[in-house]
């Protein structure tokens, strides 16, 4: 199914601590917006594929986050679990320009996910 992406300004890179994350609340569930130590920005659905842990609360290392509940390590670019674990949280496209973050939301994706 082809769907248009809606780009929504959600804040500035500086609003997120380096190697940290903040949550964007949507009608269909939370999106975790990560800023790595290298100042790259990624957006992942804020639900761990294991048991739904809030990934936004995990420790960020490199372009990965460790889920706070049972230590699954999720790749931020793909949303997928790494190592022996399998599952995908789902990602959202982001654009960063002059420190401003735009999140690409396909509303259908969120609805289907929740």
């Amino acid at each position: 199914m082809k769907e248009d992406i809606t780009w929504i300004e959600v804040g500035r890179v500086a609003d997120i601590p380096p190697a940290g994350a903040r949550v964007v609340k949507t009608k269909h569930g939370d999106v975790a917006v990560f800023r790595t130590a290298d100042d790259d920005v990624f957006a992942v659905r804020d639900r761990c594929p294991h048991a739904g842990g809030p990934l936004s609360q995990g420790i960020v290392h490199g372009a990965r986050v460790t889920c706070p509940l049972h230590n699954w390590v999720i790749d931020l670019a793909s949303g997928e679990a790494t190592g022996p674990d399998e599952g995908c949280a789902g990602t959202f496209p982001v654009q960063v320009e002059d420190g401003l973050i735009r999140l690409g939301l396909r509303l259908g994706q969120l609805a289907a996910a929740s």
Binding site: I8, E9, V10, G11, V13, A14, D15, I16, P17, P18, A19, G20, R22, V23, V24, K25, T26, K27, D30, V33, T36, A37, D38, D39, D40, A51, G52, G53, P54, Q57, G58, I59, V60, H61, G62, A63, R64, T66, P68, L69, N71, V73, D75, L76, A77, S78, E80, D98, G99, L103, L105, L107
Partner: protein, 826 residues
């Protein structure tokens, strides 16, 4: 030569891309055009990237001129300097300059470059605020420095900003760089390299402030300073804005050409009007704009082909690499290191030489590279990156560079040779020094292993002294054992590394942090030659704790390296809500506290209230956003955080003791309160629980606690290293003391020993079992002076840890981002 009517080519922009295109065109077809060049600057064509060395006094303007006036004359080019083109009339095919000169064209080339971006904060227009783009700017900066300008602030810690900062510092100004992001040059460097660069600049006297957002430029008639959003103020006689560039598109836009971020061009550098071409930083090609010269050279060739009537070449976009032009600092970066599913890092650090290298592989291809301190292989990596070469066959030795295997690889400090440490060590010459502390070289170690039949690390340590001091060469020595003995060597005897990011075990890391006076996580990672760029969820919290314990009052807690509970000061539950436990000193509470708790439960609709095993009240199911408000209400009733989430002191359980109990011999509740007042807030390797019982009936279960106190008629019995958890362990009896003061002193000393020597996530029980009760007794009981020193260090570190984290967050706005969503959509 046959005279022919030549076409007219007009070039707007006498900069690097425009003139390079003309040069390429002259090579292809020198007689085709009558060429007119308009340049807004009053100068001939010069090498813009060399403005940095000019500012730093390493070059003069004449030395960076690319084409002098005689070149223009020789090639019959009409050069109009100081003439800015104002309009293009596409129908009439003419351009008109600000001065009113109109020139007709058959083909027009736009090469207008970029304009520096000026952040529109109040005061940005004050005299003394400059950008860094052209010779005019350089002259303005040099003038200010010569006129006795003392303080310069450079806004923007990117390539340009740092080169400006260095140049101004060389000219004697006190320079502060203000950077919005956490890492300087974050677009080119990762955090680790950014840290090394920042340290180097700071060593040169340049102040670097990261995560610093500019609020206003201050001054009345002339700049006097810069105000940050967090309220800090930095004095300035000169402010350089180096926060980015914008393609200069005004002219093209006014002429009705397709313009997005830049002037839109196709693969042949043609704009939406086929008579008009564009090159350089002003263009946008396949959605990308560029800010470096390498792409311009490629564009210039394609554009010249077009102008010369050859249509077969096409521009396909560029991959770029960066070098910082600051004398004595070697930094190189190329490609991207954002990571991805099948991305893999190879990291090499050589602490002795100050080298950091990171190659990011995506599948079998290089996706990015960052080099610090040793950039000689930059071009090699970059070429393989650009050509998408399969590096699988080189993988093992890739990180050591092109010279690996030959002479390029010799010397010292290969402790971080993680990619293939064995090959690297095998390649060392016999004269290569392995142990820096004791000056032991490779040959001496391998000879000792062979001649004396050594088989273990300890053997080597005692026979050669290698690895016997600071221990940072332990990994190397083990590899030599392996190389010399082959399968006969069992490395298993050595302690396990802290995690897969390092070969150092916990104890070595702790010791080396103190020995090397390492005071930040990036400093530890560099000095101990970490194998990853920024650690993992195992090592980062451990390092954060070790640094906190080693440098109380000095080390700034790295909050992002803490597990969520310690970051938000509440316990995460399986549904993502939190639990809140206020402290109840010694298990005592009051009607006022209970009433406040009841009110909080009602107000925030908290679903579950439970009394814990540690004699306090736990509120379950609190929403993260509500935490600060819940804390404020509890604070208002005098309650503080119970640290029920911390690797730190949790509770001091007490019985009622002599005040009410008919068996009580001492005031156990009072003792417990005193202990809790002394120990609360301390960070420890794992959680710590205390208890005090008023008589040997031991109602407070003090003999399964980390530190337990049992009152007897003649004083207090002290117990340590008990545990009531998964593996129940009864305490060991430590000693008996007489006074309450002694209980406090022994307790503080014991905790401090544990804080200083245990491995992160060791509870007291496994730690004491490992080091032995005798050792603990020796340090805490027998060595009175040592005990008092431990206690003093404990008390010192408590000076910095006894701040209620709830109050900081509820009333002082600390970490407020943690509790509010970034945005709410829809």
């Amino acid at each position: 030569m046959m005279a022919r009517t030549r076409e007219r080519l007009v070039v707007v922009g006498n900069g690097m891309a425009g003139i390079r295109t003309v040069e390429e065109l002259l090579k292809r077809d020198p007689d085709r055009y009558d060429i007119t060049v308009f340049g807004a600057e009053p100068h001939v064509n010069y090498n813009r990237i060399m403005l940095s060395p000019v500012l730093a006094g390493e070059k003069t303007f004449d030395q960076i001129v690319l084409n002098d006036r005689s070149w223009y004359e020789r090639n019959g080019i009409t050069l109009l300097t100081g003439e800015k083109v104002e309009t293009i009339d596409r129908e009439a095919r003419t351009v008109t300059s600000v001065g009113g000169r109109t020139v007709g064209y058959d083909r027009l080339l736009l090469a207008t470059g970029s304009d520096p971006f000026i952040i529109p904060v109040p005061g940005h227009g004050l005299p003394g605020v400059v950008t860094f783009r052209d010779m005019f700017d350089v002259e303005a900066m040099l003038r200010k420095a010569a006129d006795g300008g003392r303080h310069a602030v450079v806004i923007g810690g990117g390539l340009l900003g740092l080169e400006a900062a260095n140049g101004l510092a060389v000219n004697g100004m006190k320079v502060t760089v203000i950077h919005l992001m956490g890492t300087i040059m974050e677009r080119q460097l990762d955090e680790a390299a950014g840290f090394l660069l920042q340290r180097e600049l700071e060593d040169r006297g340049i102040d670097v402030m990261t995560n610093a957002d500019t609020k206003a430029v201050l001054g009345d008639g002339h700049v006097t300073g810069v105000l940050l959003k967090d309220g800090r103020e930095i004095p300035a006689d000169l402010v350089v804005m180096a926060v980015g560039i914008r393609p200069s598109t005004g002219l093209a836009k006014a002429a009705g050409l397709a313009v997005e971020r830049g002037v839109v061009v196709d693969d042949h550098m043609a704009t939406s009007d086929p008579a008009i071409l564009a090159v350089g930083e002003c263009v946008q090609h396949r959605g990308a704009t560029y800010g470096l010269v390498a792409p311009l050279w490629e564009m210039a060739r394609v554009c010249a082909d077009q102008l010369a009537g050859r249509r077969d070449s096409a521009y396909a976009g560029s991959v770029t690499s960066t070098k910082l032009k600051v004398t004595g600092i070697d930094v190189f970066s190329a490609g991207d290191f954002g990571g991805g599913k099948d991305c893999e890092d190879i990291v090499f650090r050589d602490a002795a030489r100050g080298v950091y290298k990171r190659i990011v592989l995506k599948g079998d291809r290089i996706a990015g590279a960052v080099l610090y301190g040793d950039t000689k292989d930059g071009a090699w990596y970059f070429q393989m990156l650009r050509e998408a070469e399969n590096v699988a066959p080189l993988r093992e030795t890739l990180i050591f560079g092109q010279g690996f295997g030959g002479q390029g690889f010799g010397g010292q400090g290969f402790g971080g040779a993680a990619a293939n440490p064995k090959a690297a060590v095998a390649a060392l010459s016999d004269g290569a020094e392995i142990c820096g502390c004791n000056g032991v070289c490779k040959g001496a170690i391998t000879r000792a292993i062979a001649d004396k039949g050594l088989t273990t690390l300890d053997d080597v340590r005692s026979h050669t002294k290698a690895s016997a001091s600071c221990g940072s060469c332990t990994g190397l020595v083990e590899q030599l054992l392996e190389l010399t003995l082959g399968d006969g060597y069992q490395a298993a005897a050595a302690a396990k590394p802290l995690c897969k990011c390092t070969h150092h075990p916990h104890d070595d890391v702790r010791r080396l942090i103190v020995a090397g006076e390492l005071k930040s996580i990036p400093a530890v990672m560099q000095a101990l030659e970490w194998k990853t760029a920024n650690g993992c969820h195992v090592c980062r919290p451990a390092l954060n704790y070790y640094l906190l314990a080693a440098w109380p009052g000095e080390y700034r807690d790295d909050y992002q390296s803490r597990f969520v509970n310690e970051r938000v000061h509440a316990n995460i539950q399986k549904d993502g809500t939190y639990s809140v436990v206020p402290r109840m000193w010694g298990g005592l509470t009051s009607a006022k506290e209970l009433r406040a708790i009841a009110d909080v439960v009602d107000k925030f609709a908290i679903p579950t209230v439970k009394v814990t095993g540690g004699q306090r009240i736990d509120l379950f199911g609190v929403k993260k956003e509500d935490l600060p408000a819940v804390w404020r209400d509890l604070n208002d009733a005098g309650m503080v955080s119970g640290h029920a989430y911390a690797k730190g002191l949790r509770t001091v359980k007490t019985c009622v003791g002599s005040e009410w109990c008919r068996f009580g011999t001492q005031d156990s509740t009072g003792m417990g309160v005193k202990l809790e007042r002394m120990t609360w807030g301390t960070w420890t390797p794992h959680k710590v629980k205390l208890a005090v019982s008023g008589c040997p009936r031991n109602c407070a279960e003090a003999t399964i606690k980390d530190f337990g106190v049992v009152a007897v008629d003649s004083g207090w019995e002290l117990y340590v290293a008990g545990n009531g958890g998964m593996k129940v362990r009864e305490c060991d009896f430590l000693t008996k003391v007489e006074t309450e003061e002694q209980v406090l002193e022994y307790c503080g000393a014991f905790l401090q020993l544990y804080r200083e020597e245990a491995r992160y996530l060791d509870r007291t029980a496994p730690w004491v079992e490992r080091v032995g009760l005798d050792y603990v007794k020796r340090r805490v009981v027998e060595d009175g002076e040592g005990r008092r020193a431990l206690f003093a260090r404990f008390q010192f570190s408590q000076m910095f840890s006894q701040t209620d984290p709830w109050e900081e967050r509820a009333s002082r706005g600390i970490d407020s981002h943690e509790f509010a969503p970034l945005a709410t959509v829809g």
